[in-house]
Symmetry: C2
Subunit: 462 residues, 2 copies
């Protein structure tokens, strides 16, 4: 019920020029669409400073419909909800670890606004523009008749995945105070995407622009029907190995509403924030998108773009942090996880596991057999792995010194179990990776467990 | 005794334009200086194709003096000789492993010609030129009075170090058929160098040239009194962290004749071939040196420069390949070695060792305490390390299957022991590094050993 003069604040608005859209009228509709405003303590501060008047309710005041009311249902057995409106979730570990492909209804959701309702598949049109000038528009039916269907298995991952690990290892990061402060490692999944190759569509649509000498300095801006927009350098998209798609299918079925039905960008090896959903327009531009998600977020401390996924990454999916687990009869502990080379797509050479906090390491077995043959050319997919890691011998309790921990197993069975992946060039996950506002953390993946010896644990099992 | 028309061959001559120096006269003096001609089978082929006449000996023919006769003496207990004239050697492992600094009289020698005799320290002059135009000349006494003395501990390493490991892992390389085919890992050493900082000398000598916008695209050409010449991009030398020197002292004493007395370039993190000895001239140039050692050698397969040392490197110095060794009473084996980050100078984070060919790895202890405090800023030095690696349990001999090797220890005590280093960014040595003509190999360092159990081995020890 307030009247606010935002002239000064408009420059600081994290959403950039978007605030101008609401000038001179009722802000409620915008706030319900960009529902984040209800989650940020900064909003209350900004409102206090900009208020210049107060509105009196009248009989004309109507309560608008709930813009999120028609969001699709989500299965709570597969999603760890991080934010209800807009819906944001991690895929649960127990779902991620059981199959090579992440089930469609379990893939993490990262929405910025209500899920838009778009016309049925073939009729939906994507507009193409050079700068602001329209160049063409094509329905999905036209695109799929003109360009061959391509299928690529690729990890999709939010740039903020493992933000909580980053904070734990390097101190407070850019996620502090947001609903994503506790973000674990479930904002990712391995999906088989199908559609048309973006490089072919762009070359056919912009034949002159993409052959001139400065073509590779340009950017491709993607616009979504939810109002979200971001861009990616054209060079990354034209690279044949990058396998960028206008995707219409995931895991062999049409995209679901939460994942961009009827079409979205899929940019393997690039942070999920660039793979725009509910794609309505693709623009070739001399400059990157000025939308807030491109201009203000997903930047490193030094202001440079968070573009690619971390170069080498691995994750323990089973057991999970702080779990109480039973050792195998041979004194080892069974682990499961995934590994992938996010940025380069260079092949994963090995995954190693440690049960003593990183003093000794043992090779895990990579489940290479389940990789689909076509995916070997440019490996954007993950590899699942399994390992039986030898547990350290428990130390005897002593009053003379601090009970040792991490290096030798402690007397109460607590130990720190870690994994790390290597690519063929010897790049591995560092113990702690360099700080970049909490994005793209890829330090060793560690969980702290309490291990019960086999004989002790067995009777209590069902 | 032949007359040769080398007009056509001159273009193919591996030494480039140097062949013109000998045109129209007796070639013997040049051949004795560049003694390599007596070691290459290619020379015989070239001579056969270019011969156009034959000389008849006369009473005027004199046998010239032996240009190598006054080379300094070398200690055969510290050097593994690879070539006698010019002298080329590796430092023996047993010398490398006993101290943080490599003793001056043990440091590997890589000579291309006879050792030149230069005037005593302070009187020796270094000429400076811009292109071909002389700019200044300074005696070492003048340089040391004008610029502060700087001391840097840095690994010096030949680009071909570990060429034999490269050939074993990746097949025949550019060293095949040369005296360096069997090159081990002893063409390196860790030395405390003192002198004046090259960046300061260059900025004072070329104040205009080094502040103009295109300065960093230039090259610094170094000329040695032996006729050897090479160049390095100016940007690498001006970088303060690179710690490049005009060095006059090693390990606190004046340079020895084999190591460039009275002064040489020291370019830490850059292949030894660029650290020109017996320095007589330094030229700023728009283009790299066209001397053969710069234009024809030290190139990768794709023609790009072999500039920097490999990024992460470690070496087992004790025990050595094929050695028969005695296990410790706890079933472990003691190892010693060194590790360094050649190219970037980024800090070494860890060294790991394996006794099962790379299936399991254990942290080595880094001897950080012996690093001199001033060397911590930009670590060009190596770290020595020690480790007691757990030996795999011997497998029982069986006639049913092939005796396993590498993964489990075999029944005869043979095992493959490996080491690898990690830097703080997670870069480690790959299992096998990419082929680049045999230069800069940094795959896992492995030795094959026969391990005798402690009880069996002990009685035979003195």
């Amino acid at each position: 019920g307030g009247v606010h003069d935002v002239t000064a604040f408009a420059k600081e608005h994290p959403g950039g020029r978007f605030i101008e859209m609401a000038a001179g009228g009722d802000v409620e509709g915008f706030w319900r669409h960009w529902h984040y405003h209800f989650h940020s303590p900064k909003v209350t501060d900004a409102l206090r400073c900009t208020r210049i008047g107060r509105l009196v309710p009248s009989s004309d005041t109507v309560v608008d419909e709930d813009l999120y009311a028609s969001d699709p249902p989500r299965d709570p057995r597969k999603h760890l909800e991080r934010l209800a409106r807009p819906f944001n979730s991690e895929t649960l570990h127990e779902v991620l670890c059981v199959s090579y492909l992440t089930p469609t209804d379990a893939l993490y959701v990262r929405n910025h606004a209500p899920v838009p309702k778009l016309p049925d598949g073939g009729a939906h049109r994507v507009a193409f523009a050079h700068g602001e000038a329209p160049v063409a528009a094509a329905s999905l039916a036209e695109l799929s008749s003109r360009f061959p269907r391509v299928t690529v298995t690729s990890v999709l991952q939010c740039a903020g995945n493992r933000a909580a690990d980053d904070a734990k290892a390097t101190g407070a990061n850019g996620f502090k105070g947001t609903p994503f402060e506790e973000l674990g490692c479930g904002m990712l999944g391995n999906v088989q995407w199908s559609g048309v190759r973006l490089s072919e569509v762009l070359r056919a649509t912009f034949p002159q622009e993409l052959t001139c000498p400065d073509a590779s300095a340009r950017h491709v801006i993607f616009e979504g029907a939810d109002g979200y927009e971001s861009s990616t350098p054209v060079a990354a998209i034209l690279d044949e190995e990058s396998d960028c798609l206008i995707a219409t299918h995931m895991n062999g079925e049409p995209l679901t509403p939460d994942h961009g039905f009827p079409c979205r960008a899929i940019l393997p090896g690039i942070a999920g924030a660039r793979s725009v959903k509910w794609l309505t327009a693709i623009r070739l531009s001399e400059t990157p998108s000025s939308a807030p998600w491109n201009a203000n977020y997903y930047k490193r401390e030094d202001g440079s773009e968070v573009q690619s996924l971390p170069p080498v990454q691995s994750i323990i999916l089973q057991p999970t942090d702080n779990e109480r687990v039973v050792a195998n009869s041979d004194g080892s502990l069974s682990l499961r996880g995934v590994a992938y080379n996010g940025a380069a797509g260079g092949a994963i050479e090995a995954v190693e596991v440690s049960a003593d906090g990183g003093t000794s390491w043992h090779a895990a077995s990579l489940l290479r057999d389940e990789v689909l043959p076509d995916d070997a050319r440019a490996p954007h997919h993950w590899l699942r792995w399994v390992a039986d890691v030898p547990l350290p011998k428990p130390t005897k309790p002593t009053t003379l010194t601090e009970p040792s921990r991490n290096v030798e197993g402690d007397s109460e069975g607590r130990c720190v179990v870690c994994c790390r992946a290597f690519d063929v060039d010897g790049q591995s996950q560092p113990r702690v990776s360099a700080k970049q506002r909490g994005y793209l953390y890829n330090g060793w993946f560690c969980v702290e467990l309490t291990v019960v010896p086999a004989e002790e644990g067995r009777p209590s099992q069902k």
